[in-house]
Symmetry: C2
Subunit: 215 residues, 2 copies
DNA sequence: GTGATCTGGCACCGGTCAGTGTCAGTTTGT
DNA sequence: ACAAACTGACACTGACCGGTGCCAGATCAC
C-alpha cells in the first residue's frame, strides 16, 4: 500500500490511490455492518442503513459487495477472526500449564463477549438461518473454533486412547457448552459476575479433560 | 394475538362447529409453518407460502395470528414441546439408574433430531435473531431445557455442595454441548452413526456429573 | 327450496427496499 | 485554466409482500 499507483489506472484523490480508497470504503462498510447487525440485527438491516452508518452512499456498497449477504459474511469473518485470535492469545498467556491455558482462553473469551455485545450477537445469533451460503461459513468457523480447542487442550490428551472423531465431537461439545453459557449470560437481566461463569465453564472443561488425560 | 371466537354462535360446517373449524385451521397453519420454516427457513418464508402449504388463504392466517412472528412462536412452541417431552420420556425409561436415564434422554434427543431435521432447524437456528419477542421465548425455552436437565440429573447431585447458580450454569453448558454436537452432526456431510455421537455426548455429561456427585 | 352463512380465490392498495442511473459539484493532473 | 476523474446526493424503477376487501359458489338450517 505504499505507492498509490502501480498497476492502477485511476487518479489519486485526497492523498490516496484508487485501490486504497476502495479498501477504506470497504472497511468502513464492514465496520458499519458490525454496528448495525450487532445492534439492530441483520433481518431489519437495509443497505441504506448500512451506508448511512458508514457515511457512504449505496453506490459504494455495490462497489465492494454483491448483496447484503456478502457483507454479512465479511462482518462475520471480521468478528470471529478477532474473537478467535483473542482466545488463542489468552490461552498462550498460560504458558505450558494446561489449566492456566484453559483459564486464559476462557477469560479472554468471556471478556471479549462482555466488552462488545455486538460480537456474540453477530457470531452466534444473526448468522444462523440466513441462507445456505452463510450456513457453510458458520460451519467452517465452528470447525475452526473446535480446532482451536484441540490446539489448546491437545498436549494433555492421550491421542492414542481415543479415536479422532470422538475427540472432535467432544471438542465440539465443549465449544457448545461455552457458547451456550455465554449466550445465556449476555441475555440475562441480572448476570452473574464474569468470574462465576468462567468458573462454571472451567468446571466442565476440566471435568472432560480429566477423562481424556493419560492420568 | 387475534381472539378466537368465544361464543359458539356460528353454524356447523362439514360436521364441525365454528370453534373446531377455527382450531383445525390454526393447527394446519402451525404444521405448515413447521414445514416451511424447517425446510426453507423463516427469513425467506412469506404468509402466502405458509397458507399455500396449509391449503388455506391469507384470510385464515390473520384469523389466528397477528403476523408471521406470532406464527413462528407457535411453531417454535410446538416443536420444542414435543422435543422436551420426548427427551423426558426417554429419561424416564431409564428408571432409577442415573446413567441409564442420561443415556435414554440422549438417545431420545438425537433420535428426534435425526428423524426430523426440521426440529433442530426451528428450535436452534431459525428462532435466533428474529426479534426481541422471539428472543424472550428462546430464553424461556432454553431455561426449560436446563430445568429438564436438572430434573434428570438432580438426584445424583449434591445440592448442598454447590451454589444454585453454579448448577444452573453447568446445566446450561451441558445443554449447549449436546445442542452443538447435534447441530454439527445434522449439518455434517457424512455424519457419524448415532451411537457415536450419543457416546461422545455421554462422555461429557458423565464427566461433569462425576464432579458433582456426592461420591 | 330458500336464505343465511361459510369458504376459497383473487384483486387491489400501500409501503419497503434492492439495484441502477443521473448529475451537479469537487478534486486532481497538466 | 481546463478537462478528466471522482464523489455524494437523489430520483427512479421494478419487484415483493403484508394486509384488506370483495365476490361467486358451496354448505347448512329450516
Amino acid at each position: 500500500m505504499s505507492s498509490p499507483r502501480l498497476d492502477e489506472t485511476g487518479r489519486t484523490y485526497r492523498g490516496a490511490g484508487p485501490r486504497q480508497r476502495q479498501e477504506e470504503r470497504r472497511a468502513r462498510l464492514v465496520d458499519a455492518a458490525v454496528e448495525v447487525f450487532g445492534t439492530s440485527g441483520y433481518r431489519s438491516a437495509t443497505v441504506e442503513k448500512i451506508c448511512a452508518t458508514a457515511g457512504l452512499t449505496k453506490r459504494y456498497f455495490y462497489e465492494s459487495f454483491d448483496d447484503s449477504e456478502a457483507l454479512l459474511l465479511a462482518a462475520y469473518a471480521s468478528v470471529t477472526d478477532r474473537l478467535r485470535d483473542s482466545v488463542l492469545r489468552g490461552a498462550g498467556d498460560g504458558g505450558a500449564d494446561l489449566d492456566a491455558r484453559v483459564r486464559g482462553a476462557l477469560t479472554a473469551f468471556f471478556r471479549s463477549v462482555a466488552d462488545d455485545p455486538r460480537i456474540p450477537r453477530i457470531a452466534f445469533q444473526e448468522v444462523l438461518g440466513v441462507g445456505p451460503e452463510v450456513d457453510i461459513a458458520y460451519r467452517r468457523v465452528t470447525r475452526s473454533f473446535v480446532d482451536a480447542v484441540l490446539v489448546v487442550i491437545g498436549p494433555a490428551v492421550d491421542r492414542t486412547a481415543f479415536p479422532d472423531f470422538h475427540l472432535r465431537t467432544l471438542a465440539t461439545g465443549l465449544v457448545g457448552a461455552v457458547l451456550m453459557i455465554a449466550q445465556q449470560w449476555v441475555l440475562s437481566e441480572n448476570p452473574q459476575p464474569i468470574e462465576a461463569v468462567i468458573a462454571s465453564a472451567h468446571t466442565i472443561l476440566s471435568a472432560v479433560l480429566g477423562e481424556l488425560g493419560p492420568t
